[in-house]
């Protein structure tokens, strides 16, 4: 680990001031990605600005048909929240599948979404549910937010404050966890509203994506068999020593079918 300065922000505006003053600063919330990155000397921030404890970034509530989660809400809090379990049980289930107990008790939803790890679980829910990412400067639609491998629409110094999830009619998440890390080797989140069905895939490709062919097929017939003739292009998938791109492409279909099955049973 390289040397850095630690700054604990007392408010969101102070955090924004710190980040503006120090261009090489990094925001620290749960630190579940950032700290291992620092330990492996893969990053050298001048300052860590700790926003993990800010009251402005906390809170779980349902308002105007939307579930609002503060960006510093920890995965375990989402998994255990009576509000989330009642309003959006698929999201509580997803949070329960993230990493391990240590990660779930430290990691935050805002951190996960801002980092946009291609195998993280939350981006699948955010994209499939058409959530809105509220930042210190604006509101960003999920469809515009995720921009591939560790890239988002966030500008320098912009901080994720809250996530707003429109409540779906039904939703389900299924993932095949990576054996070593617990990240999604492939995870599929399916959500239906009165007017649409959305299918988001994480882990398989270089970033979370919507499987539009599956959405069209399921709009005609909401059943796992609707996906029988479909396939994602293996050339667009990730490959590493754990799994080939062809295997991941097959997993997308298998997980999507299971997610639809689960949605129908919900």
């Amino acid at each position: 680990m390289f040397e850095f300065n630690y700054l604990q922000a007392k408010s969101l505006s102070e955090a924004a001031t710190f980040v503006a003053a120090h261009p090489d600063a990094k925001l620290l919330a749960g630190g579940m990605t950032l700290l291992p990155t620092l330990k492996q000397r893969l990053a050298q921030p001048s300052h860590l600005v700790d926003i993990g404890g800010l009251p402005e970034l906390r809170g779980i509530e349902v308002k105007d048909g939307k579930l609002a989660l503060g960006a510093a809400t920890r995965h375990h809090e989402v998994a255990a929240s009576a509000v989330v379990r009642q309003a959006l049980p698929a999201l509580a289930y997803l949070a329960e599948q993230i990493g391990d107990p240590q990660v779930r008790n430290r990691g935050t939803i805002g951190g996960s979404v801002a980092n946009n790890d291609p195998a993280a679980d939350y981006p699948a829910a955010v994209l499939a549910l058409g959530a809105t990412i509220v930042t210190t400067r604006r509101e960003i639609a999920a469809d515009d937010f995720f921009q591939g491998l560790f890239s988002t629409a966030l500008k320098d110094g912009e901080i994720v404050v809250r996530l707003l999830f429109p409540l779906p009619q039904r939703a389900a998440y299924v993932k095949f966890p990576h054996p070593a890390s617990g990240y999604a080797m492939t995870g599929v989140f399916v959500a239906t509203t009165k007017t649409s069905i959305r299918v988001a895939v994480t882990g398989a490709g270089p970033g979370v994506f919507r499987w539009s062919a599956a959405e069209s097929a399921l709009a005609k017939k909401l059943d796992p068999s609707a996906l029988d003739g479909l396939a994602v292009n293996a050339a667009d998938m990730n490959e590493d020593f754990h799994a080939t791109r062809e295997y991941r492409a097959n997993l997308v279909k298998v997980m999507a079918k299971r997610a639809v099955q689960k949605l129908l049973a919900s």
Binding site: Q40, P179, A180, D240, F241, H242, A243, T244
Partner: protein, 138 residues
Amino acid sequence: MSDAHAANRREDLRLITGRGRYTADWSLPGQLHASFLRSDRAHALYDPGSGQLLTGSFSDYFMPRAGLIPDIRLNDHPVPSKTNVLGAKGVGESGCTASLPTLANATLDALWPLGIQHLDMPFTPSKLWHAMQAAKTG
């Protein structure tokens, strides 16, 4: 520097307390279970092009965890060796000596109907899937 004289070493008697124990002398309940668990990798992996270590952390290198081990019952059935007067055998790797061929046999038994008669470890899901696809199309 080369010097044939032995170092004039003195032990610090304050550090010799007699409280240490050899780990080889420990036998904890269920300790043998741990030796059945293996990573899916026998060794580190490097990218042949860049030289980059691919198994650089436990998020890539699979570390077996206690929660993954199924219920297994262990029974002792000692049979003295006939190759030496003591009847002694090495049992240093007793866990993996049995578990790896058992897993390999079970895997091949499952794949046998597809005509697959040989497969090398590690049996990752990806490798099994490819073997099954090849058997179906070939």
